[in-house]
C-alpha cells in the first residue's frame, strides 16, 4: 500500500493496522446503516446484537464490570471456539462420497477424511487412522497435529451441526463414515456438499459428479452433410458469408445416444440419480421432459443453421451439443482448441520465415475465413501480427483465384510501418496509401486505383471522413489494426467502420480485449454483427453480471461464446517462448509529420548550399552537425527548435508510436528501457511519460550522481516494484549496468553503430533475464534514418569494415552521396 493512503490524521500510519481499521470502520458503517425493520429489532432485543446494530457505536465502551460482562465472557468463549475450529488444526476435515460397491442402490458411504494443511494432495481416511497401531497413530499425529483427535471431534461436531445426518456416524469411539441411502447421497451432492464446502471442509465427490466427468443430458446436433458447410448465396446484409449446416437432433446422455423410449423410462424412474449403462447419472426430470418435447417436435426434421448460430447455441444453452463424432464437432473443436490447428507452410512468395506460432496464426486466419467466420487476432505486441496478416495476403493470392483489395484501417502512427513491412516481406504486393490533403476524392477514380492494389491503407479519421468512398466498394477484406480504436460504439468512426462492406473482416489488437467487455462487444459488432446481440442486451446479459457481480456462469458462457473468434497468444506462453529467440529485434517505421518535414527540408536546403563552400575539417564538422540536427528533427520539432514549444505526441509520429507501444507494454506489466543519445530528449521523454502515462519513470544521464544512479537501478530492478520506464542516455547508460527487469528496449533515435546499440540493448539482455527481450528500433521513413538503416542492414559486411565507434564514417561520403543520404522523400510525410 502506498504510504499516501496511510497519511492523514497524525502523521503516517503503519499499513496493516490502518487497512484493518479502515475495513472494520467501513464494514461497521455498512452494517449499522442497513435499514432493518422493527420486527427484526424485536427479534434481537436484549442481545448484544442490538448495540452492534445501533446507527452509531456507543460513545463509551463498557467499563463497569457487571453490565454485559457475563455476556461478553460468553461471547468471547463462543468466538474462540469458532476461531479454533477454523484455524488451529493442522489438517482440514473432509468428506468423500463413495458409490455403492455392488449392484445395490442404497449402500452409499460418506467417508471422513483428513487432509493435512501442509500437503493438501494427501487424503487420510479416518478408518485407516483408527485401525492403525498406536505407534503409527503417533506418527500420523506428527503431521496432523498433536491435538488431532480434539480438532477432529470438534470439526465433526461442527459439521454435524449443519448436517445432522453426520451424527449417525459419530455414535462410536472411532468415527469414520456415515452410511447413506440413495436419496441422502443425492441430498449430499446437491445440498450438504455446498454447505460443508463453504464452511471450509474438503469435499470429494465421485468423478461422474465433477463438471468434467459429469454426463449430461443433451440434445445433440448431428450434421447430415457430413459436417461440410454449404456456402449460401451472399445475403442482403452485405457480402458476409452465411455458412449453413444441415443437421438433425438426437437425444443423448454423455456420449451415448438414447432412444425416446429409453429417455421416457428414465424420466419415469423415481430417483434423482440413476445408474445408466453402468454409471451414475443425475437426471433433471423437468429438463428431460422439455428436451423430449422438443425432440418430439423437431426430431424428425432436417434443419439448417449458420455456423455462428451453432456456436452461439452450444455456448449459451447447455442442453445443446454437437455430436462429438461428427466432422462439424471436429471443426468446432479446432476453433476452440488452437493446439489442433496444424501450422501451415510458409507461402512461397513471402520473404520471411514464419515462426511456428505465426504459422498456426496463419492457419487460423485461413481456416476461419474458409468457414466464413471473422476473427480477432490479439497476439501480444512484438509477436508479429502484421507479418501474419501479410502472410495471409500472400497466401490467398497463391491459391490461384483472383482476390480483390483488402482495406487496412490503422492509426496514423503505424501506417508507414505497414507500407514498409509489406514492401519488405512481400515486395510483389502493392499498397496504396489513402492519406493527406491530395488524396483521391473522386469515388470512381478511387475505386479504380484501389482495384489495382493488394492493400489499401488509411486511417481511422479518414475512414470516417471519406466514408462515401469506402462504402461504395465491396472489399475483399477489411482489417482494423489497433482495433481498440473502435471501442466506443457511439463514436462516428466506429459507426463508419461498421458500415463497410466486406467478404472478410479481421480485427487486430494487442490489448487484452476479453477483459473489457464493451470494447469486446464493439469489436464483435464489427467482425460478427449480431453475434453478441444488441449492446443493451449484451450489457444486461454479460457486462453487468460479469463485471459488477462477478457471476461465474455468465463469465464462462461469455468465454465460450467469444473463444472461437479470438486468437491471443501472449509472449509468456510456454509454447510461444519455445518458439522465440531470447532476443527479438524489430524496426519500427514511422512517418514524418508535416511540421517536421518543413523543418527537415529547410535544413537540407541550407546544408546543400554550404556543402559546396566548405572542405576539410569544416566540411566534416558541417556533415556531423547536419546528421545531428536532422536526427533531432526526426525525433521531435521541439528538440530541434529549442524554443520551449510543447513536446507533444501530436507533433511527432515517432513519439506518438512510442507512447502507444509503451501503453501496451505497461498494461502487460512489462518494464521498458528507452535509449536516446540526446540528453534533452531523455529529460522531456521522462517528464512526458511520467505525466501522461502515470507510470514510474527513471532517467539516467551523464550528470546523474553515482549514488542516485545506484538507487534508481535497484528500485527499477526490485521484483516487487511497479512496471517502470527507464530512460537512459546512450552514453551514460549504454554500458556496465544490469536492468534485466525490462524486457522491451526502445532505441528512440539511432546511433549508427550496431555494436554500440547492441551493447545498450544488452542492459536488459543479460544473465538474469528470464523473458524474451524485444528490441524496438525507431526509423523515420523517407529520411536519412531510413537510408542509413538500409545501408547498415544491406551491407552488414561493409558496414562492419567501415563503421567506426562513432558516426564519422558517414563523413567519408562525397557531397552527392551525402546529399542523397539526407534528402527527404516527400511521399513518406504523413499528417
Amino acid at each position: 500500500m502506498p504510504a499516501a493512503c496511510a497519511a492523514g490524521g497524525e502523521g503516517l500510519a503503519e499499513a496493516e493496522p490502518l487497512l484493518r481499521h479502515c475495513a472494520e470502520v467501513l464494514l461497521d458503517q455498512i452494517v449499522r446503516q442497513t435499514p432493518l425493520p422493527a420486527a427484526f429489532d424485536k427479534k434481537i432485543r436484549g442481545s448484544p446484537l442490538t448495540a452492534c446494530l445501533r446507527p452509531e457505536p456507543a460513545a463509551k465502551p463498557w467499563r463497569t464490570p457487571g453490565t454485559g460482562l457475563e455476556a461478553y465472557r460468553h461471547w468471547q468463549q463462543w468466538r474462540r471456539r469458532l476461531v479454533a475450529g477454523e484455524q488451529a488444526a493442522a489438517f482440514t476435515l473432509g468428506f468423500r462420497l463413495e458409490e455403492p460397491p455392488g449392484e445395490g442402490e442404497d449402500d452409499w458411504a460418506l467417508q471422513f477424511i483428513a487432509v493435512p494443511k501442509d500437503d493438501p494432495s494427501q487424503r487420510l481416511a479416518l478408518s485407516d487412522y483408527w485401525s492403525a497401531s498406536t505407534a503409527e497413530r503417533r506418527q500420523l499425529r506428527g503431521q496432523l497435529g498433536e491435538d488431532f483427535e480434539t480438532h477432529l471431534l470438534l470439526n465433526l461436531g461442527l459439521a454435524a451441526r449443519m448436517v445432522p445426518k453426520l451424527w449417525d456416524g459419530l455414535d462410536t469411539a472411532a468415527p469414520q463414515a456415515v452410511a447413506l441411502d440413495l436419496d441422502a447421497a443425492f441430498t449430499f451432492l446437491t445440498e450438504w456438499a455446498w454447505v460443508l464446502e463453504d464452511a471450509g471442509y474438503k469435499i470429494v465427490v465421485p468423478a461422474w459428479w465433477t463438471p468434467q466427468g459429469r454426463r449430461r443430458v443433451r440434445i445433440r446436433l448431428r450434421s447430415t452433410t457430413g459436417g461440410k458447410a454449404t456456402t449460401a448465396a451472399p445475403n442482403a446484409s452485405g457480402l458476409s458469408l452465411e455458412n449453413l449446416v444441415a443437421y438433425r437432433y438426437e437425444l443423448a446422455i454423455g456420449d451415448q445416444v438414447v432412444s425416446a423410449e429409453e429417455w421416457q423410462r428414465l424420466v419415469d424412474s423415481k430417483t434423482p440419480l440413476v445408474r445408466f449403462r453402468g454409471q451414475w447419472v443425475e437426471l433433471d426430470r423437468e429438463k428431460m421432459q422439455e428436451m423430449l418435447a422438443f425432440w418430439r417436435q423437431h426430431g424428425q426434421e432436417t434443419a439448417q443453421m449458420s455456423l455462428q448460430e451453432i456456436l452461439r447455441r452450444t455456448a449459451t444453452d447447455e442442453a445443446f451439443e454437437v455430436d462429438r463424432g461428427d466432422a462439424l464437432a471436429e471443426m468446432l473443436e479446432r476453433l476452440r482448441d488452437r493446439g489442433r490447428l496444424e501450422p501451415v507452410a510458409d507461402p512461397p512468395g513471402l520473404k520471411a520465415e514464419l515462426r511456428t506460432y505465426q504459422k498456426r496464426g496463419l492457419a487460423w486466419l485461413r481456416f476461419l475465413e474458409q468457414i466464413g467466420l471473422n476473427g480477432c487476432l490479439a497476439d501480444d505486441m512484438g509477436l508479429g501480427k502484421t507479418l501474419q496478416v501479410i502472410a495471409r495476403l500472400v497466401q490467398e493470392r497463391e491459391a490461384g483465384e483472383p482476390v480483390g483489395p483488402t482495406l487496412l484501417i490503422a492509426p496514423t502512427s503505424v501506417i508507414g510501418n505497414w507500407q514498409k513491412e509489406v514492401q519488405r516481406f512481400a515486395p510483389h504486393l502493392t499498397t496504396f496509401l489513402h492519406h493527406g490533403p491530395d488524396r483521391e476524392q473522386d469515388a470512381a477514380a478511387f475505386a479504380g486505383r484501389a482495384a489495382g492494389h493488394t492493400l489499401v491503407i488509411t486511417t481511422y479519421a479518414l475512414a470516417r471522413r471519406d466514408q462515401a468512398l469506402f462504402t461504395a466498394l465491396d472489399w475483399h477484406r477489411v482489417v482494423l489494426d489497433e482495433a481498440q480504436n473502435i471501442k466506443n460504439p457511439q463514436a462516428a468512426q466506429t459507426k463508419a467502420v461498421s458500415k463497410l462492406r466486406a467478404r472478410h473482416r479481421l480485427a487486430l489488437t494487442g490489448t487484452p480485449v476479453e477483459n473489457r467487455l464493451m470494447d469486446l462487444w464493439s469489436i464483435f459488432h464489427f467482425t460478427n454483427p449480431g453475434y453478441l446481440d444488441t449492446q443493451a442486451r449484451f450489457r444486461s446479459r454479460f457486462e453487468l453480471p460479469v463485471q459488477r457481480d462477478n457471476d461465474p456462469v455468465s463469465t464462462a458462457t461469455l468465454k465460450r461464446l467469444v473463444e472461437p473468434f479470438i486468437l491471443r497468444r501472449v509472449k509468456t506462453d510456454k509454447a510461444i517462448i519455445q518458439d522465440l529467440p531470447d532476443k527479438l529485434e524489430a524496426i519500427q517505421y514511422c512517418n514524418l509529420s508535416r511540421e517536421q518535414a518543413a523543418l527537415y527540408e529547410g535544413v537540407v536546403r541550407e546544408v546543400e548550399r554550404q556543402l559546396e563552400e566548405k572542405d576539410g575539417i569544416a566540411r566534416q564538422g558541417l556533415m556531423l552537425s547536419t546528421l545531428m540536427r536532422l536526427k533531432q528533427i526526426c525525433n521531435h520539432p521541439a528538440q530541434f527548435l529549442q524554443d520551449g514549444s510543447p513536446f507533444s505526441a501530436e507533433r511527432s509520429h515517432k513519439l506518438k508510436r512510442l507512447q502507444e507501444m509503451l501503453e501496451e507494454a505497461l498494461a502487460e506489466g512489462d518494464s521498458v528501457l528507452i535509449f536516446s543519445q540526446f540528453t534533452e530528449v531523455g529529460a522531456e521523454l521522462e517528464r512526458l511519460l511520467r505525466q501522461q502515462l502515470h507510470c514510474t519513470t527513471y532517467y539516467l544521464h551523464g550528470g546523474t550522481p553515482r549514488s542516485r544512479r545506484e538507487a534508481m537501478i535497484s528500485a527499477f530492478q526490485d521484483p516487487q516494484g511497479e512496471p517502470a520506464v527507464f530512460v537512459l542516455s546512450l552514453k551514460a547508460g549504454g554500458v556496465g549496468i544490469t536492468l534485466t527487469k525490462a524486457n522491451h528496449v526502445f532505441h528512440f533515435d539511432r546511433w549508427w553503430n550496431p555494436a554500440v546499440e547492441d551493447q545498450a540493448s544488452d542492459r536488459a539482455f543479460r544473465i538474469g533475464q528470464e523473458k524474451t527481450v524485444f528490441v524496438h528500433k525507431f526509423v523515420t521513413l523517407g529520411t536519412l534514418e531510413e537510408r542509413i538503416n538500409d545501408m547498415i542492414t544491406e551491407k552488414k559486411a561493409l558496414a562492419g569494415a567501415i563503421v567506426g565507434a562513432d558516426e564519422s564514417w558517414l563523413t567519408q561520403l562525397d557531397n552527392e552521396r551525402f546529399k542523397d543520404l539526407i534528402r527527404l522523400s516527400r511521399d513518406a510525410v504523413v499528417d
Binding site: A3, H21, S47, P61, Y72, W78, G157, L158, D171
Partner: protein
C-alpha cells in the same frame, strides 16, 4: 426478562421440576431468578447455595427486607457408576463432540442406561436436598423455585454443571476423561472455561504510527506492485455459515428466537441492502 431453559436440557430440567411440583408455584418463582433477587449464588461440591432477597410482609410480621438462605442438592451418582458412565462417554464420538461444542448430547442418558441411572432429573427423588430459610413451609417456595430457574439458566450455558450437581467434581471429570483418547479431547476443553476476559480498548483496530518516513516514490506509489486483478469473491451458498458452526442459542443470546435465524436474516438484509457498496 430472559427466558431460562432455552436449551433442550435446560427445558428438560424445568419440565422435570414441573412434573413433580405445583406448576403455579414454580411459575411464581420465575420472578425470583434474576440478579435483583438472587444476591449470591454458588455451586460447590454439588451443593447449590444462594441468598435470596425476600419481601417485606407486615401480615407475617416481616418488616425488614429479609434475606433467605436457599440450598439445593441433587442426588449424587456413586463414584463406581460414574466410572462406568464416563468410560461409555469417552468411547462415543457423538457424545464427546457435542460436549466439545458445549452442548448436552441428547442421548447423554445412554451413558447411564445400563446402570438404570440418569443424568437429568426425572422425579423428586433426584433432588436430595431442597431447603429454604423462609417461613413458607411449602416446597418449593418461591425462593427455591427461583434458584431452580437460575440453575436451569446456568445449565444452558454450561452443561458440565450437571455433572457437578450429580456429584462428579470437575477435577474427577477431567481425570476420568483423560484415560480415553476421545475423552482427552474433551478434558482439554473443560479446562479453558475460565479463560480471562480480553479487554478491548477500541471498537476497531487502531492505526499505529509508522516509524520511518518513506521517500517520495514509496509515499505515492508504495513499495510493492499492486495486483492488477483481484479474484472475484464468490458469495457463499448459505448465509451465516460461520455462525452456524457455533450452534444455536449461544450463552450470550438472551432473546427467545433462534440466534442462527436472526443472524441469517441479518446477513441477508445487509447483503441485499448494500448491493451497491459491497
Amino acid at each position: 426478562m430472559a427466558q431460562l431453559g432455552k436449551t433442550w436440557w435446560g427445558q428438560r430440567f424445568i419440565a422435570a421440576l414441573e412434573g413433580f411440583t405445583d406448576r403455579g408455584r414454580l411459575q411464581r418463582g420465575r420472578g425470583y431468578s434474576g440478579e435483583s433477587r438472587i444476591l449470591a449464588f454458588a455451586v460447590s461440591d454439588g451443593l447449590v447455595t444462594a441468598t435470596v432477597r425476600g419481601n417485606v410482609n407486615p401480615y407475617y410480621g416481616v418488616y425488614k427486607e429479609p434475606r433467605y438462605r436457599t440450598r439445593i442438592q441433587m442426588a449424587p451418582i456413586a463414584p463406581k457408576d460414574w466410572d462406568k458412565a464416563l468410560a461409555h462417554l469417552g468411547s462415543n464420538a457423538a457424545l464427546v463432540a457435542k460436549l466439545l461444542m458445549n452442548e448436552m448430547p441428547d442421548n447423554i442418558d445412554s451413558a447411564f442406561a445400563g446402570l438404570r441411572l440418569h443424568l437429568l432429573p426425572a422425579s423428586r427423588k433426584d433432588f436430595a436436598l431442597t431447603e429454604c430459610s423462609c417461613p413458607d413451609y411449602a416446597n418449593p417456595c418461591k425462593h427455591i423455585a427461583g434458584v431452580y430457574y437460575r440453575l436451569a439458566g446456568q445449565l444452558d450455558r454450561d452443561p458440565f454443571l450437571l455433572f457437578e450437581l450429580r456429584g462428579l467434581s470437575r477435577e474427577r471429570l477431567h481425570q476420568a476423561l483423560s484415560t480415553t483418547p476421545l475423552g482427552k479431547a474433551l478434558a482439554s476443553l473443560a479446562e479453558d472455561r475460565s479463560a480471562p476476559i480480553d479487554a478491548a480498548e477500541s471498537f476497531f483496530t487502531r492505526p499505529a504510527p509508522a516509524g520511518a518516513t518513506p521517500d517520495y516514490r514509496a509515499f505515492w506509489q508504495g513499495e510493492r506492485r499492486l495486483p492488477s486483478e483481484i479474484a472475484p469473491a464468490r458469495p457463499p451458498a448459505v448465509p451465516a455459515i460461520l455462525v452456524k458452526k457455533g450452534g444455536d442459542f449461544p450463552a450470550f443470546w438472551e432473546p427467545e428466537g433462534s440466534f442462527i435465524a436472526a443472524m441469517e436474516e441479518l446477513y441477508r438484509r445487509v447483503r441485499e441492502k448494500n448491493k451497491d457498496a459491497l
